[in-house]
Each structure stands twice: as structure tokens, then as C-alpha cells.
């Protein structure tokens, strides 16, 4: 992974901070989140509900819901050799596209599939309608939709969940974006269909040299697909590194606890390891490390600890200040 650090990042997110102002009380669901996205990689943003992973993605896309505002931090993107601030309005549908969790609600129900997919060609690239439709059919074939000519005339509700997700991917490809932001793209799908879609993403990434950010709660999906992973907890990234390394040798107690709680695909059913307590109420987060109230390794300094990610090895950063956990990171 050393070459990963040498290459220039496609996207740099620094100290991203998102706030919600509800009845005068301010909560910060995304707090000082920083990461770099390398050209051609798949980065997983993983965490439980309320960890801020989806809002981070929406902030990148400039699609934060009403009442939710980015109040700090910067997002820069690279074009050629120049890093410049990312303008989501301009970047959306040109260099980046989003794939949503629920294609049933994310696709306009009143338009035929071919027009949905053709639209980015017409709007973004000024292609004539008939040519755009032909391109749409070709894309449908590329994303593995059987009988694309016939299905191109269908409306979204006439397709199964798996096919709708393929349509959404085709729409993203039609924008000719090379950066795909995926929000739980397979969570609503059955396991054999999920398997197909994940395979499709792997193939497309290789063929088209795409860069992907994948938001998910499913550690196994991250493990199958992502080159690097950033683990989020209560609005912050607690650990990041190469997926295989992080999962084999977690450098933060939260990552370790989360991994231990996943039922493994192995014989024998003993009690699963659980994490005591529940994530903090965002209106009232603990000082210092936000995981410390649930952490069995917490010691005095954790209450005052900075939460900055620290490099402990190449490509490996952890927010934990406990020597034992830093050791684990270094030990890789």
C-alpha cells in the first residue's frame, strides 16, 4: 500500500463539521472528519446508525438535508495537478455521482428507464435524444440488465430491486463521473443479489478506472470490497487503514469490539461479544474520546485526549491514545 501514499489523492477532506440546529439546540453529527481518497481505490466508511457516515457522504455530494449544514472544514478535489476546493453543485453529475440505498424511491417513477439513463447524456453532454437512448441501452447491457432493449421501455416499478439498483448504477455511469459515492447500495437487497451487485461494482471499477466511496454498516461487505476503511463512531473517524490490516489487527477498541460482535460464519454458537452501553446522545457527548464511556481500556487521560487521528504505521491511523492500541497498530 506504499504506492497509495505516493499517488496524489483525488479528494481531500479536512476537518469536515456538520451541524443540525433543532429547536435552538445544536448537535454535531459529523465532527472534524478528515480523510483522503486515492485515485482508483474503494474506501469504506463504516459505522453503526448515528455514526455520521451517511451525512459525511451527503456533505461531499452537497446534498445535506434541510436544516443540516456544513459549518466547517474543506473538501478539495484534484483536477490534473491542481488541488482546488470542491464545488458540489458543479461536480455533481460531472465528476461524481451518487448511488442511493433505496432505488425504489430514488428513481423518478414517471419516467421510463431509458429516459432516466439517457438524461445525463442529454443534459450533461448535449447528446441528441435518440443517440442518448442508444447509449442508455448499451449501458444497461454493461451493468448486466438482461434484455436491455425490452426493459429500457419499462418504468422503475416494473423492475425488481436488483434491476433497479443496476439502473441507478447505469445512471451514475451515464454522467461519465469517475467518482461514485455509494450509500448502503446493497442493504435493501437479498444476499444473492447483493453478491451480484458487489461483483458488478468490482468489475466496473476495474474496467472504467472508477474511484468509490462506500458507506455501509456491514463489516463483511467492507471486507469484500474496500481497499481502505474508515471506521466512524459518534460523528468522528476513530480508525483508518487498509481494510485487511484493520480487520485483522484493529488499532482502536471500538473497531475491535464491533468486529467481535459480528456473528462469524463459523461452526459453533457461543455468546457473541457485545459492547456495553449505547452510542452517546449527540446533544451530550463525553469529553475527549467519545468511546471512552463504553471502553473497557479507558484510563484517565482518555477524558482529555485529543481525538486527532495519529499515524501509527503506513496508511494506518488511530484516534486511540492508549499505548497498547497504538502498539497494535504499529505491530502490523
Amino acid at each position: 500500500m506504499v504506492e497509495g501514499r505516493m499517488s496524489k489523492p483525488l479528494l481531500i477532506v479536512e476537518d469536515l463539521r456538520v451541524e443540525i440546529n433543532r429547536h435552538g439546540s445544536i448537535v454535531t453529527p459529523v465532527d472534524e472528519v478528515s480523510f483522503e481518497l486515492q485515485q482508483g481505490e474503494i474506501l469504506g466508511l463504516v459505522g453503526e446508525s448515528g455514526s455520521g457516515k451517511t451525512l459525511t457522504l451527503k456533505a461531499l455530494m452537497g446534498l445535506l438535508p434541510p436544516g443540516v449544514v456544513q459549518v466547517g472544514g474543506s473538501i478539495s478535489s484534484r483536477s490534473g495537478d491542481v488541488l482546488q476546493p470542491l464545488d458540489p453543485e458543479k461536480a455533481r453529475g460531472r465528476i461524481m455521482a451518487m448511488i442511493f440505498q433505496e432505488p425504489a424511491t430514488a428513481l423518478n417513477p414517471l419516467r421510463r428507464v431509458r429516459d432516466l439513463i439517457a438524461e445525463p447524456f442529454i443534459v450533461g453532454h448535449g447528446v441528441a435524444r435518440n443517440e442518448a437512448r442508444a447509449k442508455a441501452v448499451a449501458l444497461m447491457r454493461a451493468v448486466g440488465i438482461p434484455d436491455p432493449e425490452q426493459r429500457s421501455r419499462a418504468y422503475p416499478h416494473q423492475l425488481s430491486g436488483g434491476l433497479r439498483q443496476r439502473v441507478m448504477i447505469a445512471m451514475a455511469l451515464a454522467t461519465e463521473s469517475t467518482l461514485l459515492l455509494c450509500d448502503e447500495p446493497t442493504t435493501a437487497l437479498d444476499v444473492t443479489i447483493q453478491d451480484q451487485i458487489l461483483g458488478l461494482l468490482v468489475e466496473l471499477k476495474r474496467e472504467r478506472d472508477l474511484t468509490l466511496v462506500l458507506v455501509t454498516h456491514d463489516l463483511a461487505v467492507v471486507s469484500e470490497l474496500c481497499d481502505r476503511v474508515a471506521v466512524m463512531y459518534a460523528g468522528r473517524i476513530v480508525e483508518t487503514g487498509a481494510t485487511a490490516d484493520v480487520f485483522a489487527n484493529p488499532g482502536h477498541p471500538y473497531t475491535a469490539a464491533l468486529l467481535a460482535a459480528v456473528p462469524r460464519f463459523e461452526p459453533g454458537g457461543g455468546d457473541l461479544t457485545t459492547i456495553g452501553g449505547s452510542p452517546p446522545d449527540l446533544r451530550n457527548v463525553p469529553s475527549g474520546c467519545r468511546f471512552r464511556t463504553r471502553c473497557q481500556y479507558a484510563f484517565e487521560e482518555c477524558a482529555t485526549a485529543g481525538h486527532r487521528l495519529t499515524h501509527v504505521a503506513d496508511e494506518r491511523q488511530t484516534a486511540c491514545i492508549h499505548p497498547a492500541w497504538i502498539e497494535r497498530g504499529v505491530a502490523i
Partner: protein, 332 residues
């Protein structure tokens, strides 16, 4: 061992011939959600029913609980025929835990009222002991008694699911049916609810029917597994047999489609191509043949029976062709 629940040739269908159908003498659009299904549940065991959405597993659960009418077949519970209907005391003995903690509790009742109602209606304890029993139930599901006076909207998903379990246990059932009971929970919460179910099962001697799409969870919790596809059981045996020596190609595909931690997906190849056909138009012959990688001529013509060898049953013409154990994918 004695059988607590015996299901023979059960069929559950939705939609029936309407008046217009009868006048026009056309075939009614009938959806057979459960089709010719046989299953036996021994006293005290935990049986998992797994399958993808639309396979009929939830309908099977609802038919056993008595929430959907049974079209044909025999359902014997503790020696009584309950296919045609059941009295209130028999109904009490089969309870269900639902999937969505958000909608499984009445929002206008406090937890205490929810539990007390069960105790009162079924005269489970004398009136003056109801308060005491509510506290015991909270203890059983590992919640503090203070929660008794809260309304569901104040509780977390995990807490609501525990109350759902407590409500079912208040009726002191013999058979507990859990319909995707942990599917909507975060990983760490899911682990603690799974542990709770395992403990309760042993402490109270419950018989458990665990409906799930998540094979890893099933492997962790259950003694036996039945795999459903398009309304019927295609394979059934003890957990280790099904996972270690699957005989039906669908089971094999399902097992290899599950994402696993530590296994990276490197190609777009999927375990299973295509999507299940509509249950409104079942394929002739074996219902799995259109997607089956080993389908032969006979599979298109003749529907295989659920054939059993040494307590391992599979509904495939080629299940017992070779007795070699079949390994799937990259087993960790």
C-alpha cells in the same frame, strides 16, 4: 424427543377467484406464498428457516401464529390440529417476536400497560401480582424496571426489541417464533439480542422458530436449518450438515454469496445469476431450475421430492448423486 409442531403439505395463498374470474372462467391470480411445505419442530429445539425475500418464510411464520388463513394442509401443535383455527389458550402458547422494533409496540401504551395487558387477558398471574410479574419480565430481558413507565418512542431499537420479547414471554409460550427479529438492529445491539434469545431458550426451555435471511446469525443460534425457495423447503438438516455439506445447489449458492470478513471479492462472478421468478408463475419441474448451474433435462420436467438421507433432506434430483462433501468458495 417429541414433536411440538408438525406441518404437513401446508399451502398458504393470497388472492382467490373473484366473481369476474368465475364468470369469465379464467384462472384466478393466486399467489402461493407457501406451497406444499412440510416441517417438524421438536420440543426444545431451535430451527432456522432461511431464504430470500419472497420465499414465503414470513408467511409461514404468520400462518403458524394464525395471522393468515391456511388454504390446505395439516398443522399439528402439541397433538392438536390448529390449521382450521384455535382457541385463545392455544393461541397464547405460540407467540411471535416481530422484525421492526419501531412498529411492533403500541405507541400509546407504556411498557407496563403493554405487559400487564397480556397478563390480564390470559390471567397469567393473580391481579395483585401483575406489578411484580412485570418487573420479573423486565429482569428476564435484562432491562431496568424504570423502563416500565416509559412509552416506546423514548426507547432505543434494542430496548424496544427486548420489550417485544418480554411481551411474547409474558404469555409463557411453548413456541416462540422470531421473524427477522434482529435484522433491523445495529451490529452491537444485534449481538446482545441474539445472546438474550440463546439464554432465554435454555433457561425457559423454549422451542424456537427463527426466521432469518442472515446465515451467519442462524449458524450462531440454531440447531437445525431449513432453506426455503419460492414457497417450499429445498433443504433441511442440522446446522453443521447444511453449512458443511450442503446438497442443494441453491443452498450452496446462498452460502457462497454471503459476504465474509477476511475474504476479498476480486471478480464480478456471482454465486447465482438472475433473480427468482414471480411466485405467480412458478416454473414447471424443479422451481429452481431456471437459475440452477447444474440443471439437466429432468429438472425442467419433473419436480423433485424432498428426499432424505440420514436426517438430511434435499429437494434436488442430484442431491445424492455423489456423497462427497461439497466445498464452497473460499471457506475460511
Amino acid at each position: 424427543m417429541t414433536a411440538l409442531l408438525e406441518i404437513e403439505k401446508l399451502t398458504v395463498q393470497f388472492g382467490s377467484a373473484t366473481l369476474t374470474d368465475r364468470i369469465l372462467r379464467r384462472r384466478a391470480r393466486v399467489l402461493r406464498a407457501v406451497d406444499d411445505l412440510s416441517l417438524t419442530l421438536e420440543q426444545g429445539e431451535a430451527l432456522a428457516v432461511v431464504g430470500e425475500s419472497g420465499c414465503g418464510k414470513s408467511t409461514l411464520a404468520r400462518a403458524i401464529v394464525g395471522l393468515v388463513p391456511i388454504a390446505s394442509g395439516r398443522v399439528h401443535f402439541d397433538g392438536m390440529d390448529i390449521a382450521g383455527g384455535r382457541d385463545r389458550s392455544t393461541r397464547r402458547r405460540i407467540q411471535m417476536v416481530f422484525q421492526d422494533p419501531g412498529s411492533s409496540l403500541n405507541p400509546s401504551l407504556t411498557v407496563r400497560n403493554t405487559l400487564a395487558e397480556v397478563l390480564k387477558v390470559h390471567s397469567m398471574v393473580p391481579a395483585d401480582r401483575i406489578g411484580e410479574r412485570c418487573a420479573e419480565l423486565m429482569d428476564l430481558v435484562e432491562l431496568p424496571p424504570a423502563i416500565l413507565d416509559a412509552r416506546p418512542q423514548r426507547l432505543s431499537g434494542g430496548q424496544k426489541q427486548r420489550i417485544g420479547i418480554a411481551r411474547a414471554l409474558a404469555a409463557e409460550p411453548d413456541l416462540l417464533i422470531a421473524d427477522e427479529a434482529v435484522a433491523a438492529l445495529d451490529v452491537s445491539v444485534q449481538a446482545s439480542v441474539l445472546n438474550l434469545l440463546r439464554q432465554l431458550r435454555h433457561r425457559l426451555g423454549l422451542t424456537l422458530l427463527f426466521i432469518s435471511h442472515d446465515l451467519a446469525v442462524v449458524r450462531n443460534l440454531c440447531d437445525r436449518v431449513a432453506v426455503m425457495y419460492l414457497g417450499t423447503v429445498v433443504e433441511e438438516s442440522n446446522t453443521e450438515e447444511v453449512f458443511g455439506n450442503p446438497r442443494h445447489p441453491y443452498t450452496r449458492a446462498l452460502l457462497s454469496a454471503v459476504p465474509r470478513i477476511g475474504v476479498k471479492k476480486t471478480s464480478g462472478e456471482a454465486a447465482l445469476a438472475g433473480e427468482p421468478p414471480s411466485p405467480l408463475a412458478l416454473p414447471l419441474g424443479c422451481r429452481f431450475h431456471p437459475r440452477c448451474p447444474i440443471a439437466a433435462e429432468v429438472c425442467r420436467i419433473e419436480e423433485p421430492l424432498l428426499e432424505s438421507r440420514q436426517q438430511h433432506a434435499a429437494r434436488c434430483h442430484f442431491a445424492w448423486e455423489s456423497t462427497e462433501p461439497i466445498t464452497i468458495g473460499e471457506q475460511p
